[in-house]
């Protein structure tokens, strides 16, 4: 099961079994954003609370909660995401999302199912380190699971847009 162990690293299974920031926030003041994975029908809900929405990208994410249901990959990815962005600025969260999605994006030739270990991503996104999230790198070997890994992040990007009214 060597292939599988690339996908299911221990840290991923840990976040899946003990998700961080699981739950809901009161809306308002928080915003609530739903994201679907059309391939499987799973759904992630991201609750965001900012210190001051008017500050736009400089607003700080004071609290975050994750709801919905999904597989180990989507749930652990969202759990790690919540831990990584909490207490940081909207701008930093955006950069991290972009950086994470770049890590997940596979090159066209690799659509045939070959590995993509050489994905050109740096280990940090602006001020925030990828950290645990790096464990999700193995997902690119399983193209159908990439949407699982990015589901929370796409929902986050929608969420910060809604929260800051952009």
């Amino acid at each position: 099961m060597s292939g599988l162990e690339d996908l299911y690293r221990e840290i991923i299974l840990d976040h899946y079994r003990s998700p961080r920031n699981r739950g809901e926030l009161a809306v308002p003041p928080a915003t609530r954003t739903e994201g679907f994975n059309p391939l499987c029908g799973d759904e992630i809900v991201v609750f965001l609370e900012l210190d001051d929405a008017a500050k736009g990208d400089d607003a700080v994410i004071t609290d975050v909660r994750i709801g919905g249901q999904g597989c180990s990959i989507s749930q652990s990815s969202a759990s790690m995401m919540s831990a990584a962005i909490k207490g940081h600025s909207v701008g930093a969260a955006r950069e991290l999302a972009t950086s994470f999605k770049a890590m997940m994006s596979i090159h066209e030739g690799e659509l045939e199912g070959t590995a993509a270990d050489d994905a050109e991503t740096s280990d940090t996104a602006g001020e925030l380190p990828l950290g645990d999230l790096d464990a999700l790198r193995g997902v690119v070997k399983f193209p159908v699971r990439i949407k699982c890994a990015t589901l929370g992040w796409n929902t986050l990007l929608q969420g910060v847009d809604e929260a800051t009214g952009t």
Binding site: M1, L4, Y8, C40, G41, D42, E43, F142
Partner: protein
């Protein structure tokens, strides 16, 4: 198909059937392929591929409207396919067979042609919560412009339809559209009773037979239904071909759906005259090679016998319902009825709180293909109270060893996630 390809009529020899399906020789991650996803799409025997190749290599040209030998051969091949389909489902006449690209198009045709002509404010139709999206979304779309009511037959904990308020649901409705076999939990609604009660209430009956025509003997006249839809790719045929059957008188009263070549008698700048049935509903160049392939698939199934296919699947149901719960106890939850006779060869389940997608991924590592997801039946998922299930489904080329392989792979998944 040459009779040499046909299995011995006296025994159901799965090994020799499986040998007819080239793909079943594939190896996945070093394991033999254990294909348990025929409810999504079946595999094809070599005779089907050969029939299509032969068609392209000796016969192809566009059909109808041409006098030369090749065009006549192609037309004959297509119309012979229509006759084969008609015979297979017991249609009164080949002209009652309308070829579409898949069952989904067939159901859309019913909604957009018959439905758009007959449904409006104040009208009602009846669906069940078991339905595949293909038998829901076309009606929701039509509802947006035509504003009729959709009433829903519910499903009980046993996975069976709750028919307690059926008469009330049917009262004043114009159509009952219902699956012959749930693609998620295998439920087979009592069609004879449903048809009788719907007709008594003055409603027509449309049957989504996607999961039944491939797996059971079908006789549309005995069924006394009004519309029956199914797809070729789930019954050993190619992709790109579906069928709508309807009684001829009904087809004749329906307006055309797609417009274009082949479905008209005349076209002027200010209007057109539709052709006869079934051509009225077959705009554009038809899926000719796919019709030939479907006919070859039917020949293959017919040589085996649909009653024997069904009996084999019931045996596999029994085996699975007996061995898997014994092995996994509460770790395994099988949805729907636990009576092997009451269900199709499709089994949705939950296992150890492992998400179906994760489960399928681990099973695949052992060569076992099961499908995770909502199976295009989100309303039913809500009834089951889950977002997704894992689903294993069997067909004539599966045997008890495949179900054992599923069990072994489930075991491995349990240890992998150490739950």
């Amino acid at each position: 198909m040459s009779t040499a390809d046909a299995p011995d009529a006296a025994t159901f020899d799965v090994a020799s059937i499986a040998a007819d399906f080239p793909i079943l020789g594939e190896r996945i991650h070093g394991h033999r392929l254990v294909f348990l996803d025929s409810a999504a799409s079946s595999q094809r025997p070599r005779s089907v591929l050969d029939a299509m190749d032969r068609y392209y290599e000796t016969t192809h040209s566009n059909v109808h409207r041409a006098a030369y030998t090749l065009a006549e051969r192609a037309t004959n091949a297509m119309e012979a396919g229509r006759t084969t389909v008609a015979r297979f489902i017991g249609a009164a006449d080949a002209s009652e067979i309308v070829f579409t690209k898949n069952a989904t198009e067939a159901l859309n045709l019913v909604a957009r042609s018959w439905g758009a002509a007959h449904l409006g404010e104040g009208d009602a139709i009846v669906l069940s919560v078991l339905e595949h999206h293909a038998n829901i979304v076309p009606w929701l779309q039509l509802q947006q412009t035509h504003g009729f009511e959709i009433r829903w037959i519910g499903v009980g904990d046993d996975g069976l339809l709750d028919l307690s308020d059926l008469d009330q649901l049917l009262r004043g409705s114009k159509l009952l559209s219902v699956t012959a076999m749930s693609n998620v939990i295998g439920t087979m609604p009592p069609l004879a009773e449903l048809v009788e009660r719907a007709h008594a209430a003055g409603a027509l009956v449309c049957i989504d037979a996607c999961q039944s025509v491939p797996h059971l003997p079908t006789d549309v006249r005995a069924l006394d239904a009004d519309f029956v839809a199914f797809s070729g790719h789930k019954m050993c045929g190619p992709t790109g071909i579906g069928v709508l059957w309807a009684r001829r008188e009904l087809l004749e009263t329906m307006p055309p759906f797609l417009g274009g070549g082949g479905m008209i008698l005349d076209v002027r700048l200010d209007g057109f005259v539709p052709a006869e049935v079934p051509h009225k509903f077959e705009a554009g160049t038809p899926p000719i090679a796919e019709i030939v392939g479907l006919a070859a698939a039917i020949d293959y199934l017919d040589a085996i016998g649909m009653d024997r296919v069904r009996a084999h699947e019931v045996e596999l149901n029994e085996y699975a319902l007996r061995t898997l719960p014994a092995r996994f106890g509460d770790d395994l939850r099988i949805y729907g009825s636990h009576d092997a006779e009451l269900r199709g060869g499709v089994m949705s389940f939950a296992f150890c709180d492992i998400h179906p997608h994760d489960l399928s991924q681990v099973l695949d590592e052992h060569g076992v293909c099961v499908r995770p997801g909502h199976h295009c039946a989100k309303p039913l998922m809500r009834v089951l109270g889950v977002g997704a299930t894992a689903r294993a489904s069997w067909y004539l080329y599966n045997d008890a060893a495949d179900i054992d392989a599923l069990g072994d792979a489930l075991d491995a998944a349990r240890s992998f996630f150490s739950i």
